[in-house]
């Protein structure tokens, strides 16, 4: 297992370098370059040239990229003129916010979706299953912003029970100053995930309970609870584990709409903001985070998969 992780980590470094190179080169295609993007429409030719010189943007591309990589190795991920902040500092400020949002909503979704999916599987083709299936499809089909807006309308404006927006302080932990204000965004995001997770869980349980070893367990007189908890659930969870691992990149872009609706400045909005401003250092930074999240997510899914299913061996270990 350790050897597998080391090999995957080395591969990840190559992937990360490749992604940064591609994004870096794409950034050079912006008409007017970073100078125009930073200085705006009123900048004169002289000001643009000066900006490029001061920032080293008049150097050969490979020199610029080399400096970027060297800086990255030293922990310097560049500087965002639009924000007057270091890229790393911006990410450190925003990332925990989105991790908190995505993490809390994922936990909430799992707590609801797993039992829901299992219950639907056990009551397959019964009224409960039909109602829950319809409910899941409705949630699944609803755009994220609509769920958010409906919840705000109901709980904030009509019932006046919950704030419509969490605290916006720059501190990553500001959310804990008023946790109830965090509830609507978490529930909104979870609602979307519950729909997909519960469908996967239902289908997975149905597949699992049809396996021979479940029939054997029944024949041996195992109780329904033991069959479900001891034999079926662990296997049925395998697709969910994969889903969770692959949803890790959502810490960059997945919560964008919810961040938008609830005035919650996380990684999703930072990424969009960087792209719309042609803020290349920030685009590189957020892409790096997304790449790392993707690589780590898939690695995590593989490892958890192996941990959950002893039959699976990774990388010939």
């Amino acid at each position: 297992m350790l050897g597998y992780i080391v090999r995957r980590t080395l591969q990840a470094i190559v992937v990360i370098l490749g992604v940064t190179l591609i994004v870096f080169l794409l950034g050079q295609l912006i008409p007017g370059g970073q100078a125009r993007a930073a200085l705006g429409p009123k900048a004169t030719t002289l000001q643009l040239a000066r900006f490029n010189h001061l920032n080293g943007y008049d150097q050969p591309l490979w020199v610029q990229y080399w400096h970027y990589i060297l800086g990255m190795l030293k922990g310097d991920f560049g500087y965002s003129y639009k924000n007057n902040q270091g890229v790393w500092e911006l990410i450190v400020e925003r990332l925990p916010k989105t991790i908190t949002l995505v993490g809390a909503s994922t936990v909430l979704a799992l707590v609801i979706a797993i039992p829901l999916g299992m219950a639907q599987a056990i009551r397959r083709n019964k009224p409960f299953d039909y109602v829950m299936t319809a409910f899941s499809f409705i949630l699944y089909a609803m755009p994220a912003f609509l769920i958010g807006e409906l919840l705000i309308l109901l709980f904030s404006f009509t019932l006046n029970w919950l704030p419509s927006q969490p605290p916006t302080d720059a501190s990553a932990w500001a959310v804990f100053t008023n946790p109830m204000a965090f509830l609507l965004p978490v529930v909104s995001l979870a609602a979307l995930t519950i729909a997909s997770f519960s469908r996967y869980m239902r289908s997975s349980v149905l597949d699992t309970v049809a396996e021979d070893y479940i029939r054997t367990a029944r024949a041996k007189g195992a109780s329904p609870g033991r069959i479900l908890w001891g034999h079926a659930m662990r296997n049925a969870l395998l697709p969910i584990i994969t889903l969770i691992g692959l949803s890790l990149p959502a810490i960059v872009g997945g919560a964008l709409i919810i961040e938008d609706v609830f005035n919650y400045p996380g990684m999703g909005l930072l990424t969009v903001q960087a792209a719309s401003n042609d803020d290349i250092p920030l685009i590189l930074g957020t892409t790096l985070v997304a790449t790392i999240a993707t690589v780590v997510g898939s690695l995590l899914a593989d490892v958890l998969y192996a941990a959950a299913d002893p039959r699976i061996r990774l990388g010939g270990d």
């Binding site: 912006i30 008409p31 125009r36 993007a37 930073a38 705006g40 429409p41 009123k42 900048a43 030719t45 002289l46 000001q47 000066r50 900006f51 920032n55 310097d76 560049g78 500087y79 003129y81 639009k82 924000n83 007057n84 902040q85 890229v87 500092e89 909430l108 707590v111 609801i112 797993i114 039992p115 299992m118 219950a119 056990i122 009551r123 904030s156 404006f157 006046n160 704030p163 419509s164 927006q165 916006t168 302080d169 720059a170 008023n178 109830m180 529930v187 329904p224 609870g225 479900l228 908890w229 938008d260 609706v261 609830f262 005035n263 919650y264 400045p265 909005l269 903001q273 719309s276 250092p281």
Partner: protein, 626 residues
């Protein structure tokens, strides 16, 4: 088998229910029975202030940073925005109206009796501090224009007394232009800033009290120190020092001459001001805190308005439900905002997009066609600005008919420009083209059938068979501009002018819309970034930056000897703007476009003093009264 599932399901749903059952009601600022002591104001989405030192490089030069943040603490020498006009506001300025003599080569500034929050008077040393820094680091000043205005036009400065200062200029200037475009840039800086390290004594930097232009090295060191304290390192521009988190605690920035002091600031845009107890200006704050609230999007801001969480915000254009009859007066408000009063605000700007007069597009024909005045007249005659304003912006907009804004009310706009020299007329547009040798094919593509330079021919260099077929790239991101481009395309098609639209990001459009360099391929034809030109902080609406031959922001390379002469006359000589304005209203250096309201401000009922709003977007919460 069923029982465990029921329990599991119950547990899951209970967890969800639990998380929604414990509820709180967020306190609202203005919801209390007694008069609120905190006023909240919505920042525009994703544009929090990000620089505190008033002498700033161009990347940080923005309305949100200057007019909505710095000006609350550090007053400019001259305040512009008098009621709804962009005029000089003598009452809020730190100095009396400047006097010009010696054929407009000598300018005298007399300071009023203002003081800093540390008890020191605002004196001519504070003005010299700025001027000396400008002399030393003019390239770092955002509004510096090489060879024009301050500091390049200043020969010497005489400090007559702590309250009187004389600028001796190298050549005569237009007094309006110099006051509105040059003196407008100056912000006096306190002696407490004249140092090069945190522990150093005030004034030890040696910049403020030096004779003009004699302390460049010292001023540069002070500039570096203050810039670093604001987050920017001039010697290492790409190196971040993240000083934003210290803005509210750094003693430097607590020395203010404005009505407010910063008490809280973070990089997300959460800004809290408290009154400066020693503010010596005419209007003192009455609320105990003024809070600027950041928003990620229009939607989030609108939700905050509906929830009553802010006192002054804005109505997103998507949420305008009913049109107004008069663009200068609010129409019916959104029905969900019953606790607010709507007030439209128009910026001191014109809206246009450039023709590329040097375009090599369409085998080199595009630039030649754009150079023909009759074509530009036909093109402009097909732009039905008033109809588009009604249709797209529910009548919250004003047309642009020339190079000077006709609204907000001002003394510069001429009656000729206001009269709309080229009213909408398809018939006239067709006639102009036909009479100049074009075979007009409505909803097709018109072609040149009479090449040549005579009055009834297509024009110099335009060959037979040349087509009125152009590419127009516009900035995407807002639906209004896309709508406008499409209705205009349809209108131009009525005279057989075929426009191919292409959307691109704002920065891409800006990047393409640059003046052509001789000898290089330059095939862009029409570029619309959707913003035209805002006259700030150069408030005198002259055209030296946008329509003078060779000007950096003359995107379309418009060139006219007559226009150049009139521009120079209105900046260097005491000639009124009218001649320049009327000429460019007739000569159409760009495609004039409708100018929508910049903001539809929502003001909580019962909150007084927010209106009239400044067309320059400076806010004065010290005048707000609950």
């Amino acid at each position: 088998m069923r029982a465990p599932f029921r329990h599991l399901l119950a547990a899951g749903l209970a967890a969800a229910a639990l998380s929604t059952s414990a509820i709180v009601v967020a306190p609202t600022v203005a919801g209390a029975a007694s008069k609120p002591t905190v006023a909240t104001w919505a920042e525009a989405p994703q544009t929090p202030p990000n620089y505190i030192f008033p002498f700033m490089p161009l990347p940080y030069f923005s309305v949100s940073t200057i007019n909505n943040f710095q000006f609350l603490m550090f007053r400019p020498l001259y305040w512009f925005g008098q009621g709804k006009t962009p005029n000089l506001n003598a009452s809020l300025s730190l100095a009396g109206t400047p006097t010009y003599s010696n054929g407009s080569k000598t300018v005298v500034v007399n300071l009023k009796n203002y003081q800093w929050s540390n008890g020191e008077k605002v004196t001519t040393d504070d003005l010299m501090f700025w001027m000396n820094m400008l002399h030393a680091d003019k390239d770092q000043w955002a509004d510096y224009s090489a060879g024009t205005g301050i500091p390049d036009d200043v020969a010497s400065i005489t400090v007559n007394s702590p309250t009187k200062l004389t600028l001796n200029l190298k050549a005569p200037v237009n007094s309006h232009w110099f006051t509105y475009n040059e003196l407008s840039q100056i912000t006096p800086m306190p002696l407490a800033w004249d140092k090069t390290s945190d522990g150093a004594a005030a004034g030890s930097g040696g910049c403020a009290k030096a004779a003009y232009g004699t302390a460049d090295a010292k001023c540069d060191a002070v500039f570096t120190y203050l810039s670093k304290a604001s987050g920017f390192d001039p010697s290492n521009p790409k190196g971040a020092n993240n000083s934003l988190s210290t803005y509210a605690t750094n003693p430097l920035w607590q020395v203010v001459d404005g009505p407010w002091k910063l008490s809280k600031f973070d990089a997300s845009g959460n800004v809290t001001f408290v009154p400066n107890a020693k503010y010596s200006g005419p209007v003192k704050p009455t609320v105990k805190q003024f809070v600027e609230v950041p928003f990620t999007t229009d939607t989030a801001e609108f939700n905050a308005l509906v929830g009553g969480k802010i006192d002054v915000g804005f109505l997103p254009s998507a949420n305008i439900t009913k049109p107004t009859k008069n663009p200068f007066v609010a129409g019916p408000n959104n029905s969900r905002l019953t606790n607010y009063v709507l007030d439209p605000i128009y910026s001191w700007s014109i809206n246009y997009f450039p023709y590329n007069f040097q375009s090599t597009g369409d085998s080199g024909n595009a630039g030649k066609i754009f150079s023909q005045l009759y074509f530009r007249q036909a093109f402009q005659s097909l732009v039905n600005q008033t109809a588009y304003i009604q249709k797209i912006w529910k009548n919250y907009g004003i047309p642009t008919y020339g190079p000077v804004p006709t609204y907000p009310p001002n003394s510069f706009a001429s009656s000729f420009e206001k009269s709309n020299p080229y009213p909408y007329s398809v018939t006239k547009a067709k006639a102009l083209l036909t009479s100049h040798g074009w075979k007009v094919v409505p909803n097709g593509t018109s072609t040149c059938v009479r090449p040549g330079s005579a009055n009834n021919q297509c024009g110099k260099g335009i060959p037979a068979g040349a087509k009125l077929d152009f590419n127009l790239e516009y900035a995407t991101g807002g639906t209004a501009l896309a709508q406008l481009m499409n209705v205009e395309k349809s209108s131009w098609a009525q005279a057989g002018i075929n426009i191919t639209l292409r959307g691109a990001s704002f920065n891409t459009v800006l990047g393409h819309a640059v003046p052509c360099t001789a000898g290089q391929s330059c095939d862009w034809e029409l570029e619309n970034w959707g913003g035209g030109w805002v006259f700030a902080p150069d408030y005198y609406p002259t055209g030296e930056a946008i329509f003078q031959t060779g000007a950096g922001s003359n995107s379309g390379s418009y060139s006219s000897a007559a226009a150049d002469h009139l521009i120079t006359a209105s900046t260097k000589g005491n000639v009124a703007l009218t001649s320049y304005e009327n000429f460019l209203a007739k000569d159409l250096p760009a495609v004039y476009q409708p100018n929508p309201a910049t903001s539809l401000t929502e003001i909580r009922k019962g909150l007084k003093g927010v209106t009239p709003q400044s067309p320059l977007f400076s806010i004065t919460p010290e005048a707000w009264r609950f």
